[in-house]
Each structure stands twice: as C-alpha cells, then as structure tokens.
Amino acid sequence: MESLTQRAKPVDRRPMNWLEKIYLWEIFKGMSITLKHFFKKKVTIQYPEQTRPFSPVFRGLHILNRDEEGRERCTACGLCAVACPAEAITMEAAERLPGEEDLYREEKYAARYEINMLRCIFCGLCEEACPKDAIYLSETFAPANYSRKSFIYAKDDLLIPDPVTNPEEYAKAKGLIDKKKNLKS
C-alpha cells in the first residue's frame, strides 16, 4: 500500500537477533542514552523567579490609558462593551464637572469601569473598538486568587500610573503600549 505521507516509517518487524535477545547490549545502549540526558542542559524555567518572554502581540490584562498630562482618555462611549463578545465590560458614564479638567480629557468620563477577568477571553476586540486609544491589553496575565469577586477589576486596578505623579511606572507601562502600536502601524 502506498503511504499517505512521505514521513511514514515502516515498522521494523525482523525477529530479534542474538545480541538483542540477551538484552544486555541493548540495555547498555539505553543506559548510555539516559546518561547523555543526565548531563544535558535543563529546559525548566524557574517560574516565579524567571518568566518566559512574551511576544509583543500577547494579549494580557487590560490597561486604561491616560494622555501626557495624566488625564483619562476614556469617554465612556461604550464601544468596547458593545464589541466585547464575552460581555465582560460594565461601565457607567458621568459628566465632567467644572474643575475636573485635569482629571478627564473629554466632557464625559467613565465613573465606573469594570472588567470581569473570568468572563474576558482576551480577544482584544475592545482595544480595536476604542476610538480614543483608551484601552490596551498588556503583557501580564491575571494572577490566581481565592474569590470570584477579586477577578472583577475596577478602574483603580486598570488605570495606567499617572505620568505626572509616577512617571517611572507610567513609562514602563507606556512602553508596552508603544511597542504594540508600532507593530500595528
């Protein structure tokens, strides 16, 4: 019969010869193989101390972005929630009051913005839907936790650090976003 692929290997069904029948030689061959593996480099990544590098397109936990002056970009338009196939995003809009111009970029902002990380499938459609560059998926993934409630991330958990008060952390988080942006353009 003709084989379906070129990779098929016929099974060797010859009867064992004398050397194979007495096992010993074959056992020594096997033991030399295991000894080689004994001295091989180990492939283990020591997880909590070392982590595997992620690809720049990795889709992890969300970040809510701010502009250069530290104002939230989100205007609570709801497009991300509409785009979300898992219905993981809940938001409540509020109007910006006079005197809050340094907090929110537009006249409308999200008073409540929650993502249920247990529902989220990390597809990145929210990121694509956002007209204001306000939401991004980062390179971290949701850590383990004890309660379901702790997986509902509120605005405090999602917002990027403020560039005015905490420029260092902001630059770090921003770097990830920029890397992603460059990749897309």
């Binding site: 033991m31 295991t34 000894l35 593996h37 492939v43 020591q46």
Partner: protein, 348 residues
C-alpha cells in the same frame, strides 16, 4: 573492666557501633530518596526537587514530616496486629542485615582493638540470605492483613519474585564461595585486599547475575512488579497510609543501601581503596581511607541502581519469571560448573 566475667567495654563498643551504623543507614536511605528524585529529574531533562532548602536538600525532611502528619487509616476487618507488624518487620529486617558487613578494618583506639563490624560470624553470607528471606514476610503479612484481594495478590507476586530470584542469587554466589572458600565477609574482603584483584575480575558473570538478582530482591525497576503503581494497583501497600506506608518505602531504600554495600564487599573489594597499600598507612588513616572507599563504591552502585530504574521499562510478569528461571538460573549453574572445573584444575 570485667564484671561478672563479662566484658562491658566490648558491649558498649558494639552498642555504639550499632547505633552509628543504624543512623548512617537511615540517613543514607533518607537521602537516597532525594537522590532518586534528582537522578530521575536529571535523566528526564528536569531539575528535580530544588525548593526546600539549598538545592532542595531539606526535601527528605519535608517528605518525612508530611508522612507523619498524614491520617492513619487501618481498614475495618483487617487484622490490626498483623497490619502494623507488616511494615515493622520490613523495617526490622532491612536494618538487621547491616550487622555482618565489615565497614572497615580493625583499628587500635584507646588501647583496644576496635572492629568495625558488629558481628564477624563465619556464616556472614548465609545470615544475610536468611534475613533477606525474612523480609518477604513483611511483604506477605502486610498484603494479607490489609484484607484486600489486590494487596494479597500483589504480596503473592512479590513473594514469588523474591523467592525465584533468591535462588539465582544463591547459585551465583556459590561460584564466588568456591574461590574464596569462606562464608565470612571479613575473610572475603581480606582476601581481596591481599590478593591482586577484586572478585569481580574472577567472577564477572557472577557479579552480573548477583547485581540483577539484587535489583529484583530490592523490588527495583525493571523488576518492581510487587509495586507496579501504574498498572497493577499499587501492590501490597495499597491499604497503607501515613508513616506505615513510609516504612515500607523506606525499608526498600535501606535494603538498596545494604545490598549495594554487600555487592561492594563481595565483588568490589569492600573497604579496599584501589592503588593504595593500606598496610603502609597508620591505623586511623587506613580506617578513614577504607570507609571512604567502601562508601564511594556503595554510592556508585546506588547511582547505577537508580540509573537502571530510570532507563528501563518494567518487565511483564511472565517475562520476569522467564528471565529468572530460564535465563539466570541456568547461567548461574553454568558459571558454577565452570568455576568448579577451573578451581579443581588450577588450584590443586
């Protein structure tokens, strides 16, 4: 120091020696579990335990502690006395074998000749075989007292394996005994130190047979059918939990240590350091060199035991019996006949 015509210093000396030997075998067995996991890891391109303490060195302590705190389950309708006797007997016989092994030469300490052997009896090897055979009782009693048919079948499996391989082991040893002309382990070691070569040179086939049979006697892979945790339902310690299970497993590691020491003594010159003339050294130095040599050989053999375990797949039961009865016993007989003929024609 003689009271009631009894040499008390001798008693104290032996008691100390026994305590030291037993604690050494316990520690070695403990770290053999660690070494086993490390060797397994390295052979499978993993790292093995490395979290408890530096390099995972506290892992055996953690394991032991875990076993002690596990729930003690004694099945209903099982014979409670025998159920506890099983692991105790396994542990007891494992420890007893070390009594006749010469750990080092005689040395002068504080005006006394101290002998690093608990009992230099002239039938040392027979004693070892006797105690090892008793070890089967631990297995049988444990399996029987569990009141579980799978445990019982596993115990029978283990017992029949141990008995079949004991035969080949004894036969392979007879050839060696023809050469040495003595059953005392001390005499056999001394002959190897004084002679040019170790016994392995005169008895390569005997060594191989003895090694294979001790793998089977210690229930080590590829002959670990009594246990066979994946396909034959765990074996005779299925109903055991907590430290009683620990005792069974621990006894196996002690057995492995002791049988490696016995192989080293019988075939690899015991406490004879190669290329070193012990008679030139002073008493204590010679003793230390001897201990180093014996433990070095033993640990090397233990490593080979583990290396074999993580290389070979388990034998099927009929293959095991075939190898034992149709392979090893005829070979051992042949070895015996050839050795006998050579001894007859050359030595007299």
């Amino acid at each position: 120091m003689t009271l009631l015509a009894f040499d008390w210093a001798f008693t104290v000396e032996k008691a100390i020696l026994i305590a030291v030997i037993i604690s050494i075998s316990l520690v070695v067995a403990m770290y053999a579990t660690y070494a086993e996991r490390k060797v397994a890891g390295f052979i499978q391109d993993r790292r093995g335990p490395n979290r408890a303490g530096p390099f995972g060195l506290l892992q055996p302590l953690a394991d032991g502690l875990k076993l002690f705190f596990k729930e003690e389950v004694i099945p209903t309708h099982s014979n409670k006395f025998l159920f506890i006797l099983g692991p105790s007997l396994a542990m007891f016989t494992a420890m007893m074998t070390s009594a006749v092994i010469p750990w080092g030469g005689k040395v002068e300490l504080g005006g006394r000749m101290v002998d690093l052997q608990v009992a230099d009896i002239n039938i040392g090897i027979l004693y070892i075989f006797g105690v090892v055979s008793l070890g089967v009782y631990g297995m049988m009693i444990g399996g029987w007292a569990s009141n579980n048919k799978f445990s019982l079948m596993a115990a029978l499996r283990g017992a029949s394996q141990a008995i079949s391989y004991e035969l080949a082991m004894g036969l392979s040893l007879i050839a060696l005994l023809m050469l040495t002309g003595s059953l005392s382990l001390r005499t056999i070691t001394d002959q190897q130190i004084q002679g040019n070569w170790w016994n392995i040179v005169y008895q390569p086939l005997g060594f191989l047979l003895f090694f294979i049979c001790s793998l089977a006697e210690c229930n080590r892979a590829p002959f670990d059918l009594p246990e066979a945790e994946s396909e034959l339902n765990m074996g005779y310690h299925q109903e055991y939990s907590s430290m009683k299970l620990g005792f069974f497993l621990f006894a196996e590691y002690i057995n492995m240590f002791i049988s490696c020491t016995v192989i080293a003594t019988l075939f690899l010159g015991g406490y004879d350091m190669p290329f070193v003339d012990e008679s030139q050294l002073s008493g204590v130095t010679a003793l230390l060199v001897g201990l180093l040599a014996l433990f070095g050989k033993t640990f090397l053999l233990i490593f080979i035991f583990m290396w074999v375990r993580w290389t070979l797949p388990r034998f099927r039961y009929d293959q095991l019996m075939n190898l034992g009865w149709k392979g090893l016993i005829p070979l051992a007989l042949l070895n015996m006949v050839i050795t006998g003929a050579v001894v007859l024609f050359t030595m007299k």
